[in-house]
């Protein structure tokens, strides 16, 4: 193929040809060095704090309060055990896994159903419903905060995981519908029509023909929702108001330890807890970084 994509062209670049380049007016050496220096400094600024957190979880209090850039004397998992058991990060993490699994599944099912119908069927009110969904992306959540709390309380769902799950789904729908509507529109109509000719119902066509075809789009937006809901802080803070520590989610737990670590004087424990929150996300990110980057930015470009 003649069209060489951007990243590929970039990867090919570790070229031996560091010689003079035609047309560039600057001295390449100085510019190149400065560019690399700037990029390297920023990379260290990013990696540094994350790596430091991880290392600090193996240090002792005295080591943490000493020189900030030394390695721990020994690698023991005590702090991790403390964070998992005593600070109940394990509990919060399981809660979060449960909530995020349910709400992402719900978001994807309801979101793709709505997007599919909005993208491929014309009926009165189609445009209005689409705009209703998409408009949700532009409002500040804080405007809805108080009434949302009241709505959930009136339904008897305050301080329950079900309440959080339903709210997560509802607030994830705007972007999901927006993204997937655009995606379903790009799929060819002929396959769906052929399936219908063969006697497939609308519902069956959707689940057995269209959903598999839409897989790349579905994967991108699923990861996007998993990360977004995993990292959500405000909604659990409002919907699981505090007397139900058993049901807290991980970001609540982390914020809480961050405040109490000072009193308990267990700094390694705090960093172990932070590492526990960071590691799963980092693994998901490294594995899916291409989809995540394209998913996150696709809402903004065109």
């Amino acid at each position: 193929m003649a069209t060489d994509t951007e990243p590929k062209a970039a990867v090919r670049a570790p070229a031996p040809a560091r010689g003079p380049r035609a047309g560039t007016g600057n001295t390449p050496g100085v510019f190149g060095t400065l560019s690399h220096l700037a990029l390297l400094v920023w990379a260290i600024l990013i990696i540094g704090p994350i790596l430091w957190t991880f290392l600090a979880s193996f240090k002792t209090n005295t080591e943490i309060f000493g020189d900030p850039i030394t390695l721990p004397a020994s690698f023991g998992w005590d702090a991790w055990g403390w964070a998992w058991e005593k600070a109940r990060i394990g509990r919060y993490m399981l809660n979060t896994v449960f909530v995020v699994a349910c709400s992402t599944a719900g978001t994807m099912l309801l979101g793709s159903m709505a997007a599919y119908v909005l993208a491929r069927y014309s009926f009165p009110g189609n445009r209005a419903i689409y705009l209703l969904f998409v408009s949700g992306m532009t409002f500040p959540v804080f405007l809805a905060l108080v009434p949302l709390f009241l709505v959930v309380r009136n339904l008897g769902l305050i301080d329950t995981h079900l309440g959080v799950i339903l709210v997560y789904i509802a607030y994830s729908l705007p972007f999901t519908v927006f993204f997937l509507t655009a995606f379903f529109r790009t799929l060819p109509t002929s396959v769906a029509e052929a399936a219908m000719m063969d006697g497939c119902s609308h519902t069956r066509t959707f689940f057995q023909v269209m959903m598999p075809m839409a897989k790349p789009g579905l994967i991108s937006i699923t990861i996007f929702n998993v990360l977004g809901q995993w990292n959500q802080y405000l909604l659990p803070l409002v919907l699981l108001t505090g007397n139900v520590e058993d049901r807290w989610l991980i970001t609540q737990g982390i914020a809480n330890i961050s405040v109490s670590a000072g009193h308990e004087a267990n700094w390694p424990g705090l960093f172990a807890a932070l590492s526990m929150a960071i590691v799963p996300v980092m693994i998901v990110y490294i594995v899916f970084q291409r989809q995540i980057q394209s998913g996150l930015t696709s809402g903004a470009v065109k």
Binding site: D4, E6, P7, A9, A10, A13, A17, G23, T24, G25, N26, G32, A38, L39, A43, I46, I47, P49, I50, I69, G111, M113, A114, Y116, V117, Y121, L132, G136, F139, P140, F142, L143, A144, L145, V146, P147, L148, V151, A170, P174, S201, T203, N231, L234, V238, I250, T251, S258, L270, L274, I278, V281, M282, V284, Y285, I286, S294, L296, A300, V301
Partner: protein
């Protein structure tokens, strides 16, 4: 084809629309009414008070401190993020100059892109807790520990009222740059390569390439970035809540409207008053977005 069409459409839309209307649309609409009541506490019945909440906001010091901070955020955070991200995106995409007649990115650009984006996937609460340790006011903090090596006295990053907000802005930029590097890279890759190549052949240096070609052709993406970052400047809740001393302190030096809304609503349960702040925040955000789109409107360049 048409058989069973409407039942299908209705069946597929019913659940998502219902959920969305109950949990998203109806709260937004209710907020405007609640803002006009004196609703306090969980059991008391609301009484309609008209614009009283809004007139009381005018005398609320914390409210004005928050509004001022949004102003500072708006002037500092988006420009800093955009300038840094733009520079990096340019280096990563065409910084390598021309090789074999093609514009290339700088060596290792793919790895840089993966690293820069990392903070974006971390929870804001986690980032807040992390930077609390980094910014600790004595030598136990990472930054102050490093400064101490250079013989510099510890700085009260989060406890000095003149510095606290800037420390928080620093974290926002730290977290945000990666996203915009990727966003601008996507924008740059949709500019045809031959435009760069032709210009480079004509003797344009990197600076000319950047200011004469990249920047004008990237205008749409920049506009999107500006709106996104501007809207982010009206948030900052989690970072301020986790990082600041005494929720928005010291002495309201870092407070933001979302934090005030949350504190007013779920501390003393003053729902009416908190919703009035929500409405104020809503109008600020909308005004900002509308103004930006109006001021930055220019002719689209087709390519």
């Amino acid at each position: 084809m048409r058989h069973g069409r409407y039942p299908f459409v209705v069946g597929f839309l019913a659940a998502p629309v219902l959920l969305y209307v109950v949990f998203v649309i109806s709260p937004y609409l209710q907020a405007f009414y609640i803002a006009l009541t004196d609703w306090k506490g969980l059991s008391a019945t609301p009484r309609f008070v008209g614009l009283e909440n809004f007139t009381r906001l005018l005398d609320n010091e914390a409210f004005w401190a928050a509004v001022r901070h949004h102003g500072v955020l708006l002037l500092a955070m988006p420009p800093a993020t955009i300038v840094i991200a733009l520079l990096f995106a340019f280096l990563l995409n065409v910084g390598g100059g021309q090789r074999g007649g093609r514009m290339t990115g700088i060596w290792g650009s793919k790895v840089y892109r993966v690293i820069f984006f990392m903070p974006q996937v971390l929870a804001v609460a986690v980032v807040g807790a992390l930077f609390q340790a980094i910014y600790r006011p004595d030598e136990t903090g990472v930054v102050n520990g490093l400064l101490a090596k250079a013989g510099i006295e510890p700085v009260g990053w989060l406890i000095d009222p003149d510095l606290a907000l800037w420390s928080i802005i620093g974290v926002m930029v730290w977290q945000g740059v990666g996203f915009y590097v990727v966003l601008f890279s996507a924008g740059m890759s949709s500019i045809p390569k031959d435009v760069f190549e032709a210009a480079a052949l004509d003797g344009a240096g990197r600076f000319t390439l950047f200011f004469r070609i990249t920047l004008p052709l990237l205008w749409d993406t920049l506009q999107v970035a500006w709106v996104y970052l501007g809207i982010a400047a009206f948030d900052g809740f989690a970072l301020v809540q986790v990082l600041s001393v005494n929720l928005g302190g010291p002495d309201n030096a870092t407070t933001v409207l979302p934090l005030e809304i949350w504190r007013t609503a779920f501390g003393p349960f003053r729902f009416g008053y908190a919703s009035a702040m929500g409405v104020a925040l809503f109008f600020m955000t909308i005004t900002f977005a509308a103004l930006t789109l109006r001021v930055t409107r220019r002719e689209r360049i087709e390519f």
